[in-house]
Amino acid sequence: MIEFKNVGLVYPNGTEGLKNINVKINDGEFVVIVGLSGAGKSTFIRSINRLVTPTSGSLQVDGEDILKYKGKNLRKLRTKVGMIFQNYNLVKRSNVFKNVLAGRLGHTGTLRSIFNLYSKEDKALAYNNLKRVNIDEKIYNRADELSGGQQQRVSIARVLTQKPNYILADEPVASLDPPTSHQVMTYLRKINKEDNITTIVNLHFIDMAMEYADRIIGMRAGEVVFDGPVSEVTEKTFEEIYGRAIREDDLRGGAEE
């Protein structure tokens, strides 16, 4: 369970990233955070694995306040909370398998990881995860030889190899075309249901949010302006979140499946 209690974040340059956030995310939920760019979606998500550190309030993951974590505790938290990025963030010159095994870093000793001494189980886990996202035939290709959608699937496999309780996805489909976007979201959704991994996804496409989310959190200017199950959401809700009428480019378009 993740619980934001009066969380605020002010960046060193004075920008307020988060303002008095109070949100509780239950285990197994698939939450989509929507909002215009600059609304604080990324800051919200990155607070949970402390890639950014909120400056006030308390943020609890599994009942422990993570804001004071340092060093070892912080790495332990990050092992538990996996992350997927807009630009996939793979090591382009390394092969797919090595990229996926990097998900085990938090569980592996420094020396063992430097000499690639992964256990048989870890390697089997990494390979199975590649299979789950259907990219196992590319195992020894260099990451930069893959298309965007394929790279994002590798990064999903990497996150799964981490065996997280939570997955954070920061605009995972923003650099992909519509069919690939739906494919990636379908995998995320499937993993959420099969492994019961709490998943929090940042999106700015309204139709995708509606299609995949259990629950939608709307953000504007660092504040949560909407929080409710997807059944309560209408077009009007989005107009309130965005503070303007819905436009064509707020929609990603149909799935080709």
Partner: protein
Amino acid sequence: MTKNNSLTQKSIPLYPAKTKMQVTIIFLVILGFYLFSMIRTQEDMVGGISGALGNMYVVIEKFFPPNFTILSAIWDSMLETIKMAIIATTIAAIITVPLAVLSAQNITTFKPLYYLTRTFLNLLRTIPDLVLAVIFVGLFGVGVFPGILALTVFSLGILAKLISETIESVDMNPLEAMRASGGNVFQVIWYSLVPQVAPQFTSLVLYVFEINVRASVVLGMVGAGGIGLVLNQQIKFYNYPNAMTIIIVIFVTVLIIEYISNKLREALL
């Protein structure tokens, strides 16, 4: 319509008049500097050039034909020079790794440490290789060992600087991902930094190796071992045909090494 006509008649300048003016003034000032320094040094030049032409004949007469019978005798010294360069480059390449990481701003976020290593490397680079050789020859006596030390320190300065700049230009996204998956500093560096830097690292090490082969020739002249030492002796004995052979051997060796390392670098990048 009339407006359109006036636009086409008076061509629009590519740069604003003010910029043009500034550039012209800067250009004129620099030209002035050149003319001034040319006039001031003229007196020495005029006599110098005609003298050099005359001397050229003397030099050619003395140095040619090269005495190739000594080839087998100097071969060992040439090998010694190459060995010096190899050992020095290898040691420098190893020590460079921590230094380059510590002097890269994007990895070493702890400012005092960054400034400390940066300053140390800057100091290292200000010492000319010849001075280093003189110091080490003074400390350890004539021979190969002070030469290796001088070359190591000299190439460390160049390598660490170039590689830390390569590190500063890497894509930070994979590093963020490794950090987000719970990796510690060493794992983050090994998994996301090393693969990105490795090709440039190898290329720069090869480049510094080439520099070291050339530099070790010069260092030999102040007693730091290798072919330079032999060259210096022959010139001191006025044995110019022998010296010419040594120069040709150095020239060919450097060319071969450059060719090989260029091919290696092409394959890497």
